[in-house]
Symmetry: C2
């Protein structure tokens, strides 16, 4: 039965979600046995999941020591940010295809959820939805390969933001998302692209690469099936 692949995907998704929502801090140790208990699984499957996540740069495997949530270096952080900016800005400037009515509807739906999360001061949901907005945009204007690439980049950005975020700043203005959609519907690619560039630069300006905080949280009931 191919249900084992399903189970591994479930575990990987749970870990990724925890990283995305910044519950799992960079540097956290991920003991195999403990994860196996948390997810009602066994070491072998956990091991495969960790190997997969290490290929996505979310987890770092240190031989003989175990798995840890990755701690991207300042250089890696800069590279990830620049890469994401290149992809998203370029795609908006010259979309692979036009935004369909259905695509616009999907984006509006996400924006509505964003507004709701904002209302409820649900920071975790806002982070998640903001990522979903960008991913949907890429899927609609681009293709699935670009989407999966950006998917990974967004995950890595979550680690980066957790590590290097300056205090007293609020990243990723959701108001930009609204303006972005308006510009796209008006076929104003030049302005949309410029706005996306400003939007992503805004996130970068909230980062401070000088300090390297040792934010190593212990995973306990952070991870719930």
């Amino acid at each position: 039965m191919g249900s084992s692949a399903r189970e591994e995907a479930r575990i990987a998704d749970a870990l990724c979600k925890a990283v995305l929502e910044r519950r799992l801090a960079p540097g956290s140790k991920l003991p195999e046995e403990e994860l196996a208990q948390i997810f009602r699984s066994n070491r072998a499957k956990i091991r495969r999941v960790l190997l997969s996540l290490s290929r996505s740069h979310i987890v770092t495997l240190e031989p003989g020591r175990g798995a840890f949530v990755s701690r991207p270096s300042p250089q890696e952080a800069r590279d990830v940010l620049a890469s994401r900016r290149l992809i998203e800005v370029s795609l908006l400037a010259q979309p692979y295809r036009k935004l369909s009515a259905q695509g616009a509807a999907r984006l509006r739906h996400i924006m509505a959820q964003e507004a709701e999360a904002h209302e409820k001061h649900d920071a975790i949901a806002m982070i998640y939805l903001s990522g979903q907005f960008h991913l949907t945009l890429i899927e609609e204007l681009g293709n699935r390969v670009l989407k999966s690439i950006t998917d990974e980049l967004i995950l890595r950005m979550s680690l980066i933001i957790t590590m290097y975020e300056r205090q007293n700043t609020t990243c990723c203005l959701s108001s930009d998302h609204h303006d972005l959609l308006e510009l796209l519907l008006a076929d104003n690619h030049t302005e949309a692209s410029a706005l996306m560039a400003r939007h992503l630069e805004g996130i970068e300006s909230c980062l401070d690469f000088n300090r390297e905080p040792a934010t190593t949280t212990i995973l306990s009931q952070i991870l719930k099936c």
Copy 2:
């Protein structure tokens, strides 16, 4: 000891090189036991390598049936091509940093090897070196993250070209590489970007997505340590 990671990297590299040089055809079965013998390894390590490669879309794992060299669908092929074009064309239009003298030297060195391979009618070397030229370009003008992304895209393109290449065509003109470097040294980003677009479109025009050939080769001494 961390030598096991080394060994797995060696095996993965050998498999990737075989795919890149188009010795390993899409659809080929990759039996664990056979690979373990070829690489003087054991099933467990082969298994981990295959899992890693499946994350890179080079290998497809079919539960209960085993590992196969991936057969990208026409849709996936189009998406990979479009993604690579987006990245490389955009990067040339607005390079992340200027081409250094050292970078130019590296590119010239690869071009010299390309000319040599062309002289010797070494098609395999030419394919490999062409990829290296593009990767070096991205590393010099962009960053390592973009490089590793493109690394995977080029591998996937190898599979795509093997599957869908039209007969009687010669892909990837190495003369373009020369012109590209000249334009970059002259800081003519607009023309360089345009040339790259034509260059990649040239490769795409050699493809025919209508036919789906069942090019399943048996791996025997194709893979040599």
